[in-house]
């Protein structure tokens, strides 16, 4: 093992590979910053450049771009409320309010450090798991997916804000959005109204761009307020940056928990980084004692999703390398690059191509670390946009959002959808309908329904299957504990308060 690591590091740190790494990281960051584009887009665009390279160098370039794309998306999520990609959407909930408080620089620094550490954490877990890859991946089936989705949905009450009913209405709307289109498990078209465009369902990019970028820009324009309001100081100094960089260490337990969650979700094929980020955010809210600042600018709301969505990359390499099953969208594209270079991933990869495997794994860690300081440097300039007049900034954000919605699939219908969702999102902000439950339910709705029917088929109509599978049972227990814990904590606090009031003075 050590020989393989040493050989891989020798390749990564040779000048040519370092140049590729740097170029890949900068290009990935650039794609990540533009709404609608992501690390996956960077991969697609870079693959033709790798045709003349050997497999190791090609992987250095591609892995760097894929990793940096996730980091880049957090910059605009925080500073402009515009998620660069779906995986950064959960960061908007607390990142953007922090920017509005003049703490955008601190939030980007916290996101960058969380991303770097999360990426390294994911790789570390991947290295530990190498001997047990097969058992870990095969342990997850439809019952486990179902429990994972229900676990994610259980946080909706925690992110519902001032009105639980509004949060639940948001969840209903999110679930309905996830039902649109053709259902591949049970068959049949739903809510397509004869429009072929809707057969594939509501696409992720226009939904995210509409609900966050367009809605936020319309809100800024309608209120006429700058992102950082008049009278609020824009804190961009070294002290703020170092405060942000230290944030994951100050909340180390949360960082470990979120990264672990991201790695596990990454290992499971077909779940993806968006789910990982929202699960981590929801759990950060639900498990914290002081929830008052979440959604109003709590640095923990940045650390959780950013560490999780970067740790996910390490996890998603597990099924990709071990079985040739892509663990995420970017891994599916990477798999194509493997095949173009004549490499077939699978169990043999760990024996026949161990050096290349180590290059892939270690590039992921090194790229996470390299991309983060670049992200912080970029943000020190971009943060000044927070003081721009909304009458210049809003049309720019809306233009970037609409182009981003179009660019991913080159479909003008995505632009219409982004606008419709954007207007709805703007009204949701105006009438206190929280967007977090909408997006969480939209992300998890499809997975919930699909896994439910697959579980029923697996158990031949019986739910006993949950009690015969240890992982499913453990997740079921986790759902019950996380859903019930806040009520017990609340009850305990009230009983304590009541006994304090009754005590004679």
């Amino acid at each position: 093992m050590l020989e393989g690591v040493a050989a891989a590091l020798a390749v990564i740190f040779e000048p040519y590979a370092l140049l590729l790494l740097l170029f890949g990281a900068v290009f990935g960051l650039f794609c990540g910053v533009i709404p609608g584009l992501s690390g996956s887009t960077a991969l697609i665009l870079l693959i033709p450049l790798t045709f003349g390279m050997d497999f190791g160098h090609a992987m250095v370039l591609l892995m760097a771009a894929a990793t940096a794309g996730t980091v880049g998306g957090s910059i605009t999520s925080i500073l402009l409320g515009v998620p660069g990609a779906g995986v950064n959407a959960a960061t908007v909930f607390d990142g953007f309010p922090l920017a509005r408080l003049g703490r955008g620089g601190e939030a980007v620094a916290a996101a960058a450090m969380s991303s770097a550490l999360g990426g390294v954490f994911g790789v570390f877990v991947l290295i530990l798991l190498i001997p047990f890859l097969r058992q870990v991946v095969l342990a997850f089936g439809p019952p486990e997916f179902l429990m994972l989705a229900v676990w994610g949905l259980s946080v909706i009450a925690a992110v519902s804000g001032r009105s639980l009913i509004s949060g639940l209405i948001g969840a209903v709307l999110g679930l309905l959005m996830s039902f649109v289109g053709f259902n591949s498990v049970i068959g049949g078209l739903r809510f397509t109204f004869g429009w072929i465009y809707l057969w594939d369902g509501l696409r992720l990019a226009p939904v995210f761009i509409g609900l966050f970028a367009i809605a936020t820009a319309l809100d800024l324009a309608a209120s006429g307020e700058k992102i950082v309001k008049e009278g609020v100081e824009l804190k961009t100094g070294f002290r703020q940056l170092s405060k942000g960089l230290m944030a994951p260490f100050n909340h180390f337990g949360l960082f470990i928990k979120s990264s672990l969650m991201g790695t596990i979700v990454g290992i499971i094929p077909g779940v993806g980084g968006v789910v990982a980020a929202f699960l981590a955010y929801g759990q950060a809210v639900q498990s914290s004692k002081d929830k008052t600042q979440f959604g109003r600018g709590d640095i923990r709301g940045v650390i959780a999703p950013e560490s999780s969505n970067n740790a996910k990359d390490g996890g998603s390499l597990v099924p990709t390398l071990a079985f040739g099953i892509p663990g995420s969208e970017s891994m599916a594209i990477l798999l194509g690059a493997f095949l173009i270079h004549g490499v077939t991933p699978g169990p043999g990869m760990l024996e026949d191509r161990i050096n290349e495997t180590w290059i892939i794994i270690l590039t992921l860690a090194v790229a996470s670390v390299i991309a983060s300081p670049i992200a912080v440097l970029v943000s020190t300039q971009l943060v000044k946009a927070n003081k721009l007049s909304p009458f210049y900034l809003s049309p720019i954000i809306i233009t970037a959002g609409l182009v981003g919605a179009y660019a991913f699939n080159s479909d003008i219908n995505d632009v219409f959808l982004a606008l419709v969702i954007g207007i709805f999102g703007h009204l949701a902000i105006k009438f206190d309908l929280p967007r977090a439950p909408i997006i969480i339910a939209y992300i998890l709705g499809g997975l919930t329904e699909r896994s439910f029917f697959q579980t029923i088929q697996m158990g031949r109509g019986s739910f006993a299957v949950f009690f015969t599978r240890p992982f499913a049972l453990a997740l079921l227990a986790l759902v019950i504990v996380t859903a019930a814990a806040p009520y017990f904590m609340s009850l305990k606090a009230r009983m304590k308060a009541a006994s304090r009031d009754e005590r004679p003075r």
Partner: protein, 169 residues
């Protein structure tokens, strides 16, 4: 009319229509949508009652289940907003501008629509300086062209009119 009544009433109408549509689906296809829509109709009805009769809100619509009044999280900046500074007129103008922008993109494409609508927004709606508005509006398509068309090789939508007169290749 109380704040938000028409918004939630519109959601109720949409849910009812979707419910009627879902009734036509067969077997398992209808199961999840019908359960979710039924719950949605009930929840929106409760919400409308709490808007119409605010004194019932503490009973029907708790501020989260997590204890004290101040202990409710707001995921997003929605809940923190206490003063609504927008006027209905400006609200309508901004939304109309968004619809006009997308319509113009459909007709003329991104590269033509973006400078027109950016200038219109900054100058006519925001009443900003003409020179700066012009500079910002001119920079937008240049940026889009360099980044998307040249650097990333992504062809931007050329617009229906460009297509008709054969300007797009």
């Amino acid at each position: 009319m109380r704040r938000g009544v028409w918004f939630y009433a519109s959601i109720l109408v949409c849910l009812t229509v979707l419910g009627v549509v879902a009734l036509s689906y067969k077997g398992q296809t209808a199961l999840f949508p019908l359960i979710v829509i039924s719950a949605g109709i009930l929840l929106v009805a409760i919400k409308l009652v709490t808007i119409a009769k605010p004194h019932l809100a503490p009973l029907l619509d708790p501020k989260g289940f997590f204890g004290d009044d101040d202990d409710a999280v707001t995921a997003g900046d929605e809940g923190a907003k206490t003063v609504d500074k927008t006027s209905p007129r400006r609200e309508t103008v901004v939304i109309a501008w968004g619809i006009a922008y997308v319509s113009l993109i459909y007709l003329l494409g991104f590269l033509v629509a973006s400078p027109i609508m950016t200038f219109l927004f900054a100058k006519a709606i925001g009443r900003r300086s003409g020179a700066i508005s012009f500079a910002v509006a001119a920079a937008v398509p240049v940026f889009l062209y360099i980044v998307f068309e040249r650097l990333l090789r992504i062809d931007l939508f050329p617009g229906l009119v460009s297509d008709l007169i054969g300007l797009s290749s």
